[in-house]
Point group: C2
């Protein structure tokens, strides 16, 4: 990506069943849009499996981890923390400061499920909102990563991919590169 | 928004239960990120209700519709159609052409659920991908709208809002404007 420091996406909170697809989409969006790693709650077993499977087939580098101590992970994180929340400051006003912090160190981008503990607002270096409207943590993550990387993430090269999609004006073309 | 022509987001396909939250997030993302209207499958009753409720509380203008004839809606659509698909051409290469079409007419942005009928690829003026990686239709929609409107959607004014979030560096502040 644009620089060498890690960007890790952290998914806080997960209700098995109800949140399976949202958490999976958070993980896959993190991978597709330039993050190096995603850390999921350890009860998000479906999402962990799907994100690893997609990485196996479509390439990396991308790491999928899970833990039962996500707040502990954030407490011990030695870089800036960007918490995406509809209550936060406008992302478009803070993105330059975020990018600047990222130039000199790793970045954790945190997206919550339902209710985020107040400690996370305090731990965060930046509480930012992609609008102050209720919508989707997946949408907020996507816009934030696209702005953070300034579009460079969109043609990220993939290594160890078995499958590669060849862009088409209409229809589908997938090349098998596993041979 | 940037111009007067309508942008409508169309959600194609919906499996009740399984897709409830994804379809809801599509609708809320459409509203938050500058679309004028969303058209949902008529079996997406939860998503219709939630999107209308959010519009009642947080403001509009935003219209939520549903129909049992979404492909018919697209066949009769008299503007450009942007179909978001991981098999499509890079959005960053086509966004200027899309924006140009939007200057002179309405735009439908189509996001599918599982499998999209081949007819939709043919009906589409543009089949575009936000990367050619598998991730999330919500993420793809968010990046596409943000690029289409060039960020102007992020501080869209809202009318008839009962609730307004006041951006905070930490914590939450919501003002009740219903009085």
């Amino acid at each position: 990506m644009i620089d060498q420091e890690e960007v890790v996406v952290v998914r806080l909170g997960h209700r098995p069943g109800r949140d399976d697809r949202m958490t999976t989409h958070v993980a896959l969006t993190a991978r597709a849009l330039g993050a190096d790693r995603v850390v999921l709650p350890d009860n998000a077993t479906d999402a962990v499996e799907t994100a690893r499977d997609v990485t196996d087939r479509f390439g990396g580098p991308f790491t999928v981890e899970s833990t039962d101590a996500l707040q502990g992970f954030l407490r011990g994180w030695e870089g800036a923390i960007v918490h995406l929340t509809m209550y936060g400051e406008p992302v478009e006003q803070r993105i330059e400061a975020i990018r600047k912090r990222h130039r000199s160190g790793p970045l954790a981008v945190v997206v919550g499920a339902e209710k985020v503990p107040f400690e996370v607002y305090d731990l965060a270096t930046f509480n930012v909102g992609v609008t102050n409207q209720p919508h989707s943590e997946v949408a907020a993550l996507a816009v934030t990563l696209d702005r953070l990387f300034e579009g460079a993430e969109l043609d990220r090269p993939w290594v160890n991919a078995d499958k590669r999609v060849v862009p088409q004006a209409a229809g589908k073309r997938v090349v098998d590169e596993s041979d």
